[in-house]
Symmetry: C3
Subunit: 191 residues, 3 copies
């Protein structure tokens, strides 16, 4: 079993924002070389979310409005948590609605997604540096059974055809582009 | 590490529905042969959920009523997302409350469930074909340590008793019945 | 791939409570010996949650008040589920907001957490014995590549320095303290 770990960093200029991080997670999967397994993507901070939904700015506006109705930021005095000197109690509530993490299947070296699935970082108390963890576990593409048996039995170096086969199977996926500038972000100036 | 993948397909006659998919997921686990690991079950569409709760029709009615109060379908014009020509913005919101996915432990070849846990597909924008992904990773039942050592040291063919033991351990679980007709579904005619 | 399973038991004196279980899960991870992998922690009952947030009693009060507003316990007759003789329909709803499970990365033998992440058991229908499942899958710490190659090629017993290295790498983490008395709990007397 192989494992891979990377932190993605964010600092949103507004209190709240939704940022599409699908390309960054795809790049992590390419770096990991994992072909079959699971990807965990989670907010490392408790006033932020990672969730999967649609990359459509109208919907992001609807989420913003809906979450403000379910857990309003103002008046900050309505929350006991804010008596500690914080003003972000609402962010702790919003994050529970949208979730901390997603787990995504990896199949044949790709995120195993339906047609519209995109991964988002949901920020509810931004304007400071915060992190998302990408953890990938799984296997590289498996050797064909024949090659595996030949090697185990110590029959000497595999024949050319087999060697090519091993090289093909064990090759890590070509490096994908590294973390990209955020392709798209829906930002709201904080209250 | 072994991995297994299957898509389950749904087309509900109503806009919203809850469908118990526990038997289908159990059948997938049987097909996979995995004895120790994790099962990921996720909606592949962003207006549907997979969640674990009780198979009780009164509760499903309560969920339906509660989700409609939290994120009403009508008036469709209240959502910016619906300006794109869609009428399903509420479904994107309801899905966040109920969740995209569940991760279930596999222990001794079974879904490691408490007494009332059942897996549901939650449809919030149906009347079209949609999918759920079942991804399973883990190991077959492990060989006993003694047999494993004997084989590694190349001591020749194992003794009959050991051979039987290996056969016993390496046998895949007997095939479970394939995907069943949906055992039970709570449907609501869409607005 | 190694796997580990443990049940944590709870019986809260009040209907609703939040209990920090981070130390118990950390102890499970120590017992498992897993260095790289994933931990799944889930409620085994469908009127309880496992979630990750802040260990701050003011926030827990805010969650309690907010969840009661979103899904009130009284009047119990407002829920169809309660016509079955239950009075806990609200608990099934609250659990969906807070979630059934968390998946946490394991890196270098530790829960791979951001600065304030703590795991909580959220009880919404207590005063009886209920369980949480901890399932861990992953690998022990890997041998360094050099040692691994030497062993595979059958070059005889490794040199002392290498042998020490193997011992170091293969040693299970020292046993951590077993499940602790609950360090902290926020309890509300049930309605």
């Amino acid at each position: 079993m192989k494992s891979y770990r990377k932190e993605l960093w964010f600092e949103t200029p507004s209190r709240r924002a939704f940022i599409n991080i699908t390309r960054q997670v795809t790049a992590c999967l390419g770096e990991s070389g994992v072909a079959e397994g699971l990807v965990l993507v989670n907010a490392m901070h408790i006033t932020a979310s990672v969730f999967i939904n649609d990359d459509e700015s109208g919907l992001h506006h609807d989420y913003e409005k809906w979450l403000e109705a379910l857990a309003p930021h103002e008046p900050v005095s309505q929350y006991n948590h804010n008596q500690t000197g914080e003003d972000n109690a609402d962010a702790h509530l919003k994050r529970q609605v949208m979730g901390r993490e997603v787990v995504v299947a990896v199949t044949a070296g790709k995120l195993d997604f339906g047609p519209w699935e995109q991964i988002f970082y949901g920020e509810f108390d931004g304007r400071r540096r915060k992190r998302v963890l990408v953890k990938i576990i799984g296997d590289y593409r498996q050797r064909p059974a024949l090659v595996s048996i030949a090697l185990q039995r110590g029959r000497g170096p595999p024949m050319p055809a087999l060697r090519d086969c091993i090289r093909l199977q064990e090759r890590k996926p070509a490096a994908l582009p590294r973390a990209h500038p955020q392709s798209k972000a829906s930002l709201w100036s904080g209250l």
